[in-house]
Amino acid sequence: MNLWIPVLLATAGTFAFKVAGYFVPDRFTQHPHFNQVARLLPIGLLSGLIAVQTFGEGQSIVLDGRIAGAAVAVVLLMRKMPFIIVVFTAAIVTAIGRHFGLWI
């Protein structure tokens, strides 16, 4: 598969959402459910992505060092650490554990 296809199609689509906002009348936002759905949608998708990226491998559930990384991320976020610290520490902990055979 040429990866330019999903890259460019998704880019066109997300840009269309941004542009549409400047061309439609803003009484759209008056609909009470509209803002609520717009707020919850990213939360649902990102939570789904966490599940898949932590436990999934194709169509199987695989328990490996990613769980340690995600757990480290949760602990650091509870301590209000910045994004870059969270991501790098998660990677380092996972890598060190793998090196010493604590997990796969």
């Binding site: 400047y22 509209f34 919850l40 992505l49 990384g69």
Partner: protein, 228 residues
Amino acid sequence: MPASKNAILRDALGIGIGVASYGVSFGALGVTSGLDVWQTQALSALMFTGASQFALVGVLGAGGTAVSAIAAALLLGFRNFPYALRMSSLVRPHGLTKFLAAHVTIDESTAMGLAHENGPDQEVGGRFAFWATGASVFVFWNLATLIGAVAASGAGDPKVFGLDAAIAAGFVALVWPQFQGPLERKTGALAFLVALTAISFVRPGLPILLAGAVALVIGLATKPGAAS
């Protein structure tokens, strides 16, 4: 006290430098997910909405189809539509400037625009904050992406460096600040469980869309403004 343009500019630069850390992560993850440096950079320059970019490379890297990767990116990018609606009445761009404003309509520029909209200098401050933040984030985000992508393209097996765990951690960090109330936390927990359960039963990519469907149903079924 009116927020001077200098103060706004300082905040905008600070936000830009802050998102640069996400940008480095995105550049590295894009390349380790199978995209080349150009494709990764094209996403930051042209798509320019972080969560959608992470989702696209995340689904592709996990073996999902192009269709489910695109769908995940679009669903995450949907929130820019209400942002743009809101910014349209603040920024009031004309002609081609509308497309430029649309391109830099993201979480950060919208938040800054709203924060300065009701200040003493009113719309001028809001508009200035929107443009300054959009421009600052665009520059830093793209530079950071390039650094991350180039650095990771020589890194070898991503698992040795724990980069697969970094993807999971990155999504946790993206959603964390959004868990502001009980409804948000309930939505996140339910979406997580549905996606986890679905992994073994449906094709890669679809569990994420099912998680999005959970949020859609909760959003439509819950009375807006009701404490839950």
